[in-house]
């Protein structure tokens, strides 16, 4: 077991890789009542095509999320009940690249930890339970269809991506999930829930040796599990966008717009992080609430305080999204493009601005470390991406104005821009008479 102390931020991490390949991290937070645990498979909604021992498989869209739902159901009932009986709150979520199962509790920690590990490691699927789940997930898909923000987001993503499964809803579609069988589920579990493809992260106040001993004993009892030779197959995706402009109509009162600037992925983990942070700084300087542009757009009524922007940096894709509720989407789009041109033409990014940015982000980061949930989720994300959450302050320190210029100028390129406008249905009727 390795102990790493991060003195400057007063954090302690204990790490071990067990014989079967499972990686375990324990993050000690003295004085906390809560123990928070996540058990994560590197398997997400984008992993719908893969090659195992030279054989290629295609599985229905939405299966990672479906599998996540089904893992809670066992022959003797619902594991949610068992967590509740043990005084724990359990949950799970699926993203593009991972599936996390989690619980938190203040007592009976080992009992709940065993429950979590067994639940994730021992699948139980039948045709009946799969059939019933289809109904539940269909309702979930329909619920999101009524959410204007969600529809706008997914339409924008679909305008950007041609082949990459990022454009597919994490839950799949009503038709794709109806194709899921128990055999698909067993296959995906065998392939992606191998200990060497998983990471267990615990945050709280622990007896460190005892906790590691407990996990080791449990994992050893599983016996050797042969790793499979797995290769994920992702389609090639160029930077070209699919559809530049799109209008979407819903039963809403307010018009919303989303812009997406598509970028190319970066293979190097450290460069990916540098771009991620540089983009966050750059976008904030340009459009954040402390910028003059923000107030000008606000004063002119082009945006309101629903205005939001983010850079998304993932292993397999990268893009910038901007959105606002507005009466004049065309003016919003032209104003954003003007600001980008202006910034490219002048010396906008300065060391003075950067110092404040760095201080603010560092403060936010330290505040976030109050939260065991934030730590477990972000530690997992950074770790799977080849980086260490607790080294983030060093990386923040290293970012320069030149980094920001380089990445911002490259990312905010109007040649790779898509525009999606969500309008009230009444406008559609007006147009079509």
């Amino acid at each position: 077991m390795k102990h790493i102390e991060y003195r400057e931020i007063d954090e302690n991490v204990y790490q071990d890789t067990l014989e079967n390949g499972l990686e375990v991290f324990l993050i000690q937070k003295s004085g906390y009542n809560k123990k928070f645990v996540t058990y994560t498979a590197k398997y997400g909604s984008m992993d719908n095509r893969f090659e195992v021992n030279d054989e290629t498989y295609s599985v229905p869209d939405g299966i990672a999320h479906f599998l996540e739902h089904k893992m809670f159901e066992k022959e003797d009932g619902d594991v949610f009940d068992s967590f509740a009986k043990g005084g724990a709150n359990a949950n799970a979520f699926t993203s593009y690249d991972r599936t996390s199962y989690l619980f938190s509790t203040t007592d009976d920690f080992y009992k709940n930890l065993s429950l979590l590990m067994e639940m994730v490691e021992q699948p139980y699927f039948t045709e009946d339970t799969v059939e019933r789940e289809i109904g539940i997930i269909n309702e979930e898909i329909r619920m999101y269809q009524d959410n204007p923000g969600y529809r706008l987001y997914f339409d924008t993503i679909s305008q950007m991506y041609d082949e990459l499964p990022v454009k597919i809803d994490i839950a799949g579609t009503e038709s794709s999930i109806s194709e899921i069988t128990k055999d698909h589920l067993y296959l995906c579990h065998d392939v992606f829930y191998h200990p060497s493809n998983m990471v267990l992260i615990m945050v709280g106040d622990f007896d460190i040796d005892e906790t590691f001993g407990f996990i080791r004993e449990h994992q050893d009892s599983r016996g050797p599990i042969e790793p499979l030779d797995v290769r994920r197959i992702l389609p090639e995706e160029t930077r070209e966008v699919v559809k530049r402009k799109n209008d979407l109509y819903m039963d809403v009162k307010e018009t919303k717009v989303m812009l997406g600037f598509k970028n190319e992925k970066i293979d190097s983990a450290s460069e990916r992080l540098t771009r991620d942070i540089a983009m966050m700084f750059g976008l904030d300087m340009m459009f954040g609430e402390q910028s003059d542009h923000y107030y000008r757009l606000l004063e002119e009524g082009i945006i309101d305080d629903s205005f939001n922007f983010a850079h998304n940096e993932e292993k397999d894709f990268a893009h910038v999204l901007m959105t606002t509720q507005t009466d004049d989407p065309e003016r919003f789009i032209s104003s954003i493009l003007e600001i980008i041109d202006e910034i490219k033409a002048q010396d906008f990014f300065t060391d003075e601005k950067l110092v404040n940015q760095k201080r603010e982000v560092l403060g936010d980061y330290l505040s976030s470390l109050n939260s065991p949930e934030y730590i477990a989720n972000q530690y997992t994300k950074y770790h799977l991406d080849g980086y260490d959450l607790y080294k983030l302050p060093d990386l923040i320190e290293e970012i320069t104005v030149d980094d920001i210029k380089k990445y911002i100028f490259d990312s905010l390129d109007a040649d790779y821009l898509v525009e999606c406008v969500l309008r009230p249905e009444t406008q559609k009727e007006a147009v079509h008479g």
Partner: protein, 414 residues
């Protein structure tokens, strides 16, 4: 692992919550007044304006840059309702200076920021009209945007029907139709009222070694302490109402409001436990039976306002199954009323509620909220445990019997 100490400083109660586990200091000024229609929108707008601009800074970006310079100190306002009250709070979260190499004297700087936040509206003049008008416009847009969220909108519709002539129907974020009529003079008047007549309290949590009374002295001064009664609404007998409206939605929204006659602290706690068993958790009857067993809803839960004795069920269901889902909800409540539950389930539910309470104090905001609640009730954590221990099958049956469906509101497809 925290200690609470209350002092009166300048006739304002100040609650110190000492704990070492957080990396931040959290400072909150809480105002409390009676919930009234003419108050909610004005106060919401006032509180938003207050955290955006203060006297020392000519622009909002200047103010935000100042906070960013202090390691991203976060200043926020919050408006909520509780019991019969409307609450406005101002919160500052900043990192403990031991994580910073330079000497920034955070606490002193932050208390003067807060002092100025509270004082600035008294000086609003014509020069602030433009700022005021813009904030009004943003506020209106925010509420209009909320109405495009069908789940939110249908819950508001339920409240409007259920509490037709009761102030409880006003959400803490105010009433869209009232915004246009607000003047800057209304804002100033409401501010004067809040500063002079509201019950106020200051709460501070974190590693507070260096925090003396002196540093907090300037935030708020009063010539005498204001103490207001803290209570819920009296139980009201009502007629059952059912309303269905149609819009183009993929999924119907089913909302049901219940009233319960609860008087003692133990009864309120029993209502809390009933809510958890009914629809407040992933093992509740609604979740297990309506969502999991019958696949009637993806989303279904109940929430309780125990101070006032209200329970609300919110569900997203298939448009062709609204009646079936409604009957199923009523059936699950009947089961609890008839005692169709095990003692084991009651104990598990109570245990989980205790765990949740312990977990809540692992967050600065959760800790402050819990301590403030004890401050309002004049209680301790021990009282809470005792009330919880008093909840058994007998008390649950007694309280469940007093729960009545008041309003069913369904928003479904065309």
């Amino acid at each position: 692992m925290y200690n609470v100490e209350t002092k009166s400083i300048n006739n304002v109660p100040v609650v110190f919550i000492h704990t070492e586990k957080f990396k931040t200091i959290n400072l909150k000024v809480q105002f409390r007044s009676e919930l009234r229609r003419e108050r909610v929108s004005v106060r919401y707008l006032l509180s938003r304006m207050m955290v955006k601009k203060t006297g020392s800074f000519s622009t909002e970006s200047e103010f935000l840059n100042y906070l960013a310079h202090h390691y991203g100190a976060h200043l926020t306002s919050n408006a909520t309702k509780k019991g019969r009250d409307h609450m406005v709070s101002f919160n500052l979260e900043f990192i403990n200076s031991r994580f910073v190499k330079e000497d920034l004297n955070f606490l002193e700087t932050m208390t003067s920021v807060l002092k100025e936040v509270l004082a600035t509206p008294a000086e609003y003049d014509e020069a602030d009209e433009q700022f005021f008008e813009r904030e009004k416009r943003l506020y209106k847009n925010r509420l209009k945007g909320l109405k495009d969220n069908k789940a939110q909108k249908s819950f508001e519709n339920l409240l409007n029907i259920m509490f037709e002539d009761e102030p409880y129907k006003f959400l803490s974020h105010g009433v869209l139709e009232d915004i246009d009529g607000i003047t800057l003079e209304d804002i100033k008047k409401e501010h004067r009222q809040m500063m002079a007549s509201d019950e106020a309290a200051i709460l501070i949590s974190g590693h507070l070694d260096e925090v003396g009374e002196e540093s907090l002295r300037g935030i708020l001064c009063r010539s005498e302490t204001v103490k207001l009664p803290y209570r819920g609404y009296a139980f009201k007998e009502t007629e059952y109402k059912a309303v269905t409206e149609r819009e183009s939605v993929e999924q119907a929204k089913l909302n049901i409001g219940f009233r319960a006659d609860v008087k003692t602290a133990e009864e309120r706690m029993a209502l809390n436990v009933i809510n958890q068993m009914f629809g407040g958790s992933a093992t509740s009857y609604l979740f297990k039976n309506i969502r999991e067993k019958e696949s009637l809803a993806y989303q279904i839960h109940s929430q309780a306002d125990i101070k006032n004795g209200f329970i609300f069920v919110l569900a997203g269901v298939s448009p062709d199954q609204t009646a079936k889902a409604e009957n199923a909800v009523m059936h699950e409540l009947e089961r609890i009323k008839k005692g169709d539950f095990t003692d084991e389930f009651v104990e598990e539910t109570k245990h989980l509620m205790k765990v949740n309470r312990k977990e809540a104090v692992d967050k600065p905001k959760g800790l402050i909220a819990l301590v403030y609640n004890q401050f309002l009730n004049g209680t301790t954590g021990k009282d809470w445990e005792e009330w919880m221990d008093a909840v058994d099958r007998e008390l649950i049956l007694k309280v469940a019997d007093r729960i009545h469906a008041d309003t069913v509101y369904t928003l479904t497809g065309k």
